[in-house]
């Protein structure tokens, strides 16, 4: 059960959250202009990074807000969490996540 630092409420147990998949995949502004491949990439293609990646969480049983997080998928430790619309805090990709 991870401990997740909600940008609004502070550190809370994973049981209050729902994972929202990879972050920063914006829905195409004008879908009609997308090719089938572009639309399929929006729906299905995921980087599935082994290492530090940006992902979405929603504090469903909490403040209800979506937010983003940088997590190292080889240790499950969080580097940062930040609100929707903000850029990921500067993290060198290789920096190993320490607790």
């Amino acid at each position: 059960m991870l401990l997740i630092n909600c940008p609004y409420c502070g550190e809370r147990p994973e049981l209050e959250f729902v994972h929202g998949g990879q972050a920063h995949i914006a829905r195409p502004g004008n879908p009609a202009e997308c090719s089938d491949q572009q639309w399929a990439d929006y729906l299905y293609r995921r980087d599935n990074i082994k290492g530090v990646h940006a992902e979405r969480w929603r504090h469903t049983h909490g403040c209800g807000r979506f937010f983003n997080a940088l997590r190292d998928t080889t240790s499950d430790l969080f580097l940062a969490t930040y609100k929707v619309g903000e850029r990921p805090p500067a993290q060198s990709q290789q920096k190993r996540a320490t607790a």
Binding site: L3, R27, P28, P31, D36, W39, L43
Partner: protein, 1001 residues
């Protein structure tokens, strides 16, 4: 039956309280404070079990949780039988009933022992090489035999009446293990004001000290006072939670530690209302592991006979339980520490001979032993033992530096053999925290290094073995931990001292003359893995330690290799010509020791397995004898049988009532979302397929929601309550999903929109009143609303009151009849339902359930999302393309609908099916084929989604998804069934009042 091996005095037992117990039916007695193991030993019982594969007679090897042999079943009553418990962990209580396992007919005479004779032909992994001929024999002949021979205890057969509890907890510093290091750590952390949890698997605090003749003496200055004072202070401190009989079994991400607390296992009469065990989930800001070390056995031929035990264990049985395990002992050791056991035995009156495999034994303890008159053989190995159900003698052989025999072997008669290969620091929990362990050549052990979690190790588990040093180590670890939690540390504590070597001996097997690997030299007691098995594995190409473990099953028994892993690793490394760190350890996994399934479930069982959600009208339906079905977490009335009616008969009656008079249906479980804001209509347009701009206030529309893959996700009636306020209904199962999807789009894609969502699913109780007489029933009850068709047409909504209660009145119909859905605040639901039911008596009002609702809506060809759709159905497939707002530039799913596969003529389309024989009702899920004679694999062209007998139409009807269905109107297709294919005709999915005239009554 006197306790033959009980010492006259000493031990932490209560000699004034005798405790009677039975073992395999034999009446025995021990004392309060005994474990089953110590009590058995006290009665001279060494034979306690039979090994897994060769069924060899086995005695106690250890005194703790790492015991591989003494597995017993404890029986309280027929429903409370627990298999595979370690006798060393079972605390004795009056009337305890213990049974040995894995032997038939008895422990002394076990037929399974035949395997021991066959052992040359059934080495490790033999089952991969045989049992393959003839092919069918595996299932009928070989496998049943193997399964019968395998397994240890008997599985419980009756539902477990005991209850289990769970608790979340938080602390600044969690200390695991209450030995010298752990006690010091807990006290230091507590002194800083930190919130501390201290847990230990033993019933008593003290850890390794409990096995000493004079606990505390080894703790340095004023050791004894410090020990008693520290324990008293910890128990009295409100900021410290002390949990004995509690095992830290798992280390999870972000310092979440799982603890298993045994609450009543040690009681003769546990209170049935109290839980048997409690599972704690502790979130600790800092963790100090003080988990001690486990003594390593030695590997030599015949090292598994009852009476061959670990030296530390014998010392514990003597000092802690007042049991002298034997009178004529032989200590076989490669480690100085073991001499303490010899000296304690000597003091208790036993004769002890010491066999030290090392060239010389010059340690201080060795000198004490010699001066005490004990004979000490050095450079000597054990080449065999003798004695079937109890060790009777050992054969030793002096070796020269090159390992060659020097002089003749010598036989020493004995009734007890102590062995010690040194200590293995317990790094299980540290390793679970994904901490890296590093090999210490000096200590011949893996020691904890760095971990990504906030954890420190102290004492023997990081190689600081002496009690005094462990105490200081615990203090410094806890001081740093408390400081990292922001608590001031008042006493000057330095950094933890680096670990110095203590000249430990290398793990592995004792040298044998001529170097050839001996027979029956056991590495893993419980799984009967010998050093020869390890050599066979290496010979067959299993070189990774993980391969060796899986091929030989060493370390895979219920003790999970606590006494075997290091020796196995060393033997394999030597065979492969590699160093031990090069070969490496296998993965440590939770749980540290086995944990009861029931405690993982905790309160989540029976009625509390999942919440039971019921509507405000549930009790009324129950009183009417309704039969309920589960829909998600909800209970929904399915039908209302009267005087023994079948579901079929009840549904026919209910449907008749709706079609002719009026019916009452509880629709409260539907999801409801209030969408409010000036951009509400823009939001709804972007989300649902329909156009909403032109929906007038006071009107409703059937909405369809897709996901961006173009497939139907949910549907429901959407009402415009005001210019900026929509009342959106969803399916029962979709309530939470749809709201989450809406919040996702609003928060992350369209944050500019000024609109907010509020769930009102449980604010409103929803009473559906359907049927030609519905309006007459309502007229007398409502006020402030005109029920006429002109004022309130089909798909209209109006505020008002009913029986003085505020109401939102919908004119909607899921039955095809004149229909209303009366939404009232939930607490009023029951009273209003009863009022409507009473008012409807003269009109033949009849409650109906979900089954009738399904039939009525199917007669109208209305789909049920989740039944007629399955996540791969588009609006056009379901014949709902008309609902799509044509001018809208975009909605969720629109782009996906333009993909080639969405326009393939071969897509499955929703159609009606009428069976050739009208009274045959098709099975839902049945497949549809074009050719009656098709034999599998017959590539079906569709399947039946909904199928019922329609009382209204006097025949069966069905809806189905069929490839190119709409272009097959009138065609005959076939539904293959086990007893022949059924002919069906493709029709329109609307079977009743196609023009919908009854809706506008």
């Amino acid at each position: 039956m006197s306790q033959g091996l009980r010492t006259s005095s000493g031990g932490r037992i209560n000699r004034a309280r005798a405790v009677r117990f039975t073992f395999d039916g034999r009446e025995l007695s021990g004392f309060e404070g005994d474990t089953l193991a110590s009590a058995l030993l006290a009665n001279g019982v060494h034979l306690v079990g039979r090994s897994f594969k060769y069924h060899r007679p086995r005695g106690l090897l250890t005194a703790g949780a790492e015991e591989p042999n003494a597995l017993v079943a404890i029986r309280r009553d027929a429903a409370r039988v627990t298999p595979n418990l370690r006798a060393t962990e079972v605390e004795l209580y009056e009337g305890l009933e213990a049974h040995s396992q894995n032997r038939w007919p008895s422990l002394k005479f076990d037929a399974g022992a035949i395997n021991s004779l066959l052992s040359p032909f059934i080495p490790a992994g033999f089952y991969y090489k045989t049992f393959m001929w003839p092919r069918r024999a595996w299932h009928r002949l070989y496998e049943p035999r193997i399964r019968a021979a395998a397994g240890l205890g008997l599985a419980p057969e009756h539902p477990d009446p005991d209850s289990y509890s769970n608790r979340f907890a938080h602390c600044d510093v969690l200390v695991v293990g209450a030995g010298p290091a752990g006690l010091a750590a807990a006290q230091t952390a507590a002194a800083s004001g930190a919130r501390v949890i201290l847990c230990d698997e033993q019933p008593e605090l003290g850890g390794s000290l409990l096995g000493e003749a004079d606990p505390g003496a080894s703790l340095g200055e004023n050791g004894r006072d410090w020990l008693t004072g520290t324990i008293r202070a910890l128990l009295a401190n409100p900021r410290v939670t002390v949990l004995t009989r509690t095992t830290a079994f798992g280390y999870f991400p972000h310092n979440l530690i799982g603890l298993e607390q045994r609450l009543s296992e040690h009681l003769a009469q546990p209170d049935p209302r109290q839980p048997r065990e409690r599972q704690w989930q502790v979130r600790a800001r800092q963790v100090v592991l003080a988990t001690g070390a486990i003594e390593r056995p030695l590997v030599f031929p015949g090292n598994d006979r009852p009476g061959v035990m670990l030296a530390g264990a014998v010392r514990t049985y003597l000092n802690r339980y007042g049991v002298l395990a034997g009178r004529r002992a032989v200590l076989v050791t490669t480690h100085d520490e073991a001499y303490r056991s010899a000296l304690d035995l000597r003091r208790a009156g036993a004769a002890v001979t010491i066999v030290d495999a090392r060239e010389s034994a010059s340690g201080e303890l060795a000198e004490v032993a010699r001066t005490a008159g004990l004979t000490v053989h050095t450079g000597t190995t054990v080449i065999g033992t003798h004695g079937r159900l109890r060790v009777k003698s050992v054969r030793i052989q002096r070796l020269d530096a090159q390992g060659r025999a020097q002089g003749a072997p010598e036989r020493i008669d004995c009734d007890l053999v102590l062995m010690s290969g040194g200590y293995t620091p317990s790094v299980h929990l540290f390793s679970q925290s994904r901490g890296k362990v590093a090999w210490s050549e000096a200590l011949q052990a893996f020691l904890p290094g760095e971990s990504p979690e906030k954890v420190r190790c102290a004492g023997a588990c990081r190689g600081v073995f002496s009690a005094a040093a462990a105490r200081r180590d615990g203090e410094s670890a806890a001081a740093l931990a408390a400081r990292d939690c922001g608590h001031a540390v008042n006493i000057a504590i330095g950094e933890p001292q680096p670990v110095q070597g203590a000249g430990a001996a290398a793990p592995g097997d004792l040298p044998q003359p001529g170097g050839n690997p001996p027979a029956k030299a056991f590495v893993d007691w419980q799984n009967d893995v010998t050093s020869r098995d390890l050599l066979l594995a290496a010979r067959e190409g299993f070189r990774s330690i993980e391969h060796v473990k899986r091929y030989t099953t060493t370390g895979m028994a219920t003790d999970q290799g606590k006494t075997s892993n290091l020796n196995a690793l060393a033997i394999v490394a030597r065979q492969l010509g590699k160093s031990i760190p090069e070969v490496g350890l296998t993965t440590f996994r939770m749980p540290y020791t086995p944990v009861t399934f029931g405690s993982f479930a905790g309160y989540t069982r029976g009625e509390l397995f999942d919440p039971i959600r019921t509507t405000p009208i549930h009790d009324w339906a129950a009183r009417q004898g309704a039969v309920f079905e589960d829909v998600g977490l909800w209970k929904r009335a399915r039908y209302f049988p009267r005087n023994g009616e079948s579901m079929h008969a009840a549904v026919a009656r209910e449907c008749e009532a709706v079609r002719r008079g009026c019916g009452l249906f509880d629709a409260s479980t539907l999801g409801k979302i209030e969408v409010v804001g000036k951009d509400a209509v823009t939001f709804m347009n972007r989300l649902y397929v329909n156009g909403w701009t032109n929906l007038a206030v006071g009107r409703c529309r059937y909405g369809i929601l897709l996901r961006d893959d173009g497939f139907i996700y949910d549907d429901g009636v959407v009402a415009r309550i005001a210019e900026d306020r929509f009342h959106v209904t969803t399916t029962t199962g979709g309530a939470a999903r749809v709201l989450a999807m809406m919040e996702d789009f609003l928060q992350t894609e369209w944050p500019d929109l000024s609109v907010w969502l509020t769930s009102t699913s449980e604010q409103w109780s929803v009473i559906a009143l359907q049927g030609p007489r519905a309006r007459q029933v309502l007229e007398g009850l409502v006020e402030g609303v005109d029920l006429s068709s002109t004022a309130l047409p089909h798909m209209g909504v109006a505020p008002g009151k009913i029986c003085g209660v505020p109401m939102r009145l919908f004119r909607v119909s899921f039955t095809g009849e004149l229909g209303f859905e009366i939404n009232v605040p939930a607490d009023y639901g029951l009273a209003v339902w009863e009022a409507i039911h009473a008012a409807g008596e003269p009109h033949g009002i009849t409650p109906y359930g979900t089954e009738s609702m399904h039939v009525l809506r199917a007669e109208k060809g209305f789909i049920i999302v989740g039944q007629d759709t399955d996540g791969t159905v588009t609006p056009d497939d379901a014949g709902l393309a008309w609902a799509i707002g044509k001018q809208k530039p975009d909605f969720v799913g629109k782009r996906a609908l333009e993909r080639p596969a969405m326009h393939s003529p071969e897509r499955k389309q929703l159609v009606g099916l009428l069976t050739a024989q009208p009274h045959v009702v098709l099975m839902e899920g049945a497949q549809i084929v074009a050719d009656a004679r098709a034999i599998p694999p017959s590539r079906p062209i569709g399947h039946v989604t909904s199928s019922y007998y329609s009382a209204t139409l006097g025949r069966s009807i069905a809806l189905a998804l069929v490839r190119a269905g709409r272009s097959r109107m009138g065609q005959t297709l076939y539904v293959p069934m086990p007893d022949g294919a059924l002919a069906v005709q493709v029709t329109s999915p609307v079977f009743y009042d196609p023009k919908g005239s009854r809706l506008d009554a």
